[in-house]
């Protein structure tokens, strides 16, 4: 169980979640990126952006 960093809802996250994985808060719908797994830390995932690379 981990707390959503956006709305403080209690979230169930799979035990085998990996760094960089995106999970969604079922309460507020925020897309959250797993920053670290030990300890489990979530941050609001950046919006998808266009790749303007050449």
């Amino acid at each position: 169980m981990v707390e959503c960093p956006e709305c403080a809802a209690a979230m169930n996250v799979a035990s085998d979640v990996e760094q960089g994985e995106i999970c969604m808060c079922e309460d507020c719908g925020a897309e959250l990126e797993v920053k670290t797994t030990e300890p489990l830390k979530l941050e609001l995932a950046p919006e998808a952006q266009e790749d303007w690379g050449q």
Partner: protein, 375 residues
């Protein structure tokens, strides 16, 4: 959801009667109570419709038990009386009605306020039974559940008051609103708030499509908001010396009728104490801790989808109060949005919730309907 290990599991249903059952609130009570597994509806009174089947007035109840309206003079004793009489009538008849049932839930405004002076101020008439005012528990379970468990008399709260109070209560309790500034609340209301008595104002050509500012000031439910939200700070995150401080919010309320039959959407503007530097996450935590284990409060503040904020449309016939908020990034203004069905969480549903608590039934019994979509 909250569970109660000491619930009343007796098999025998309680006997209830509804006084003044021909109105919209009475009809909703009949709909809920005729389907309630622990209730037997004994009598439903209406002077105008005495001896007629209830389906003649409430056609949605056509297939249910064929009860006929009776006169109030033919009421017999029962376990619990619901009173849906017009304002001022209940206070005049209460002494007689108390003889018929040990428990009463009154849905009028006659016992919501705690002082006779408030009736003079807000209702502009004398209260004829002021000595009984303190015997009634104000009927918003999310504020007074413990008192309701031991109550014999509940005064079910006003619909606009319920919607506004539930939105503001956690913030005022936590002591985070700058009460030197006013709180401004505005409700958009459905036409069923006006009851089933018609007038020129409710005539179809006049009422359809209107956005009518019908009570810009002096709405009677403001008195309930002031009464119930004048509470001391109670916030475990505060320093002990900050808790217990009495607060007197300055609430300004307006009501607007819109093109909707059921429902209330209340938008409340509050200003947070600037020194607290609160984020939206802090506000979320306040709401979650206050309404933890309250089965009829839902938080609606979604990042995607169509219904991102509370909206009364999808609450039709449910007992939920949906609450959302947004903090203005340019200021300390917090906009709180709350929505209910005025006939349910604002009247009959909340009264049945109160009955469940009072009778030690599961709080959600008979009120589990999740609503319709689309509608």
């Amino acid at each position: 959801m909250e569970t109660n290990n000491n619930q009343n599991n007796t098999q025998e249903p309680i006997k209830v009667s509804i006084v003044g059952a021909s109105g919209y609130t009475g009809g909703e009570l009949l709909r809920l109570l005729l389907m309630h597994p622990k209730v037997k509806v004994m009598q439903a009174t209406s002077e105008r419709n005495a001896k007629k089947l209830i389906k003649t007035v409430h056609p949605n109840l056509r297939h249910l038990r064929p009860i006929k309206f009776t006169s109030i003079n033919d009421l017999v004793a029962c376990d619990l009386l619901f009173l849906c009489l017009p304002h001022k009538t209940t206070m005049e008849k209460i002494s007689q009605l108390k003889q018929l049932a040990p428990k009463i839930i009154d849905l009028s405004g006659d016992f919501r306020l705690k002082t006779k002076e408030d009736y003079q101020k807000w209702y502009e008439h004398e209260h004829t039974n002021p000595e009984l005012l303190n015997q009634f528990v104000y009927g918003i379970p999310e504020l007074h559940k413990e008192d309701m468990k031991n109550a014999n008399y509940i005064s079910s709260a006003g619909c606009n008051a319920t919607c506004t109070i539930l939105g503001l209560y956690p913030l005022i309790k936590a002591g985070v609103i700058d009460l030197k500034l006013p709180i401004i609340a505005e409700s958009k209301c459905g036409s069923s708030e006006g009851g089933n008595k018609f007038s020129l104002a409710s005539h179809h050509p006049e009422r359809t499509g209107c956005v009518r500012s019908y009570k810009p000031t002096r709405h009677r439910h403001t008195a309930e908001m002031l009464q119930e939200l004048s509470i001391p700070i109670d916030n475990p995150n505060n320093a002990p010396e900050d808790n217990g401080a009495e607060q007197k919010p300055n609430i300004h309320f307006s009501a607007t009728s819109i093109q909707m039959i059921r429902g209330i959407l209340t938008t409340s503007h509050v200003f947070l104490k600037p020194e607290l530097n609160l984020t939206e996450l802090d506000i979320w935590k306040i709401y979650r801790s206050t309404y933890k284990d309250q089965p009829f409060i839902r938080f609606v503040n979604d990042r995607s989808g169509i219904y991102r904020m509370p909206e009364p449309k999808i609450l039709t016939a449910t007992n939920f109060c949906d609450i959302g908020f947004q903090k203005d990034p340019q200021s300390n203004r917090l906009v709180v949005i709350s929505a209910i069905d005025n006939l349910m969480k604002g009247a009959a549903g909340q009264a049945v919730q109160g009955m469940n608590i009072m009778m030690n039934f599961e709080e959600t019994l008979g009120l589990e309907f999740p609503g319709l979509h689309p509608i």
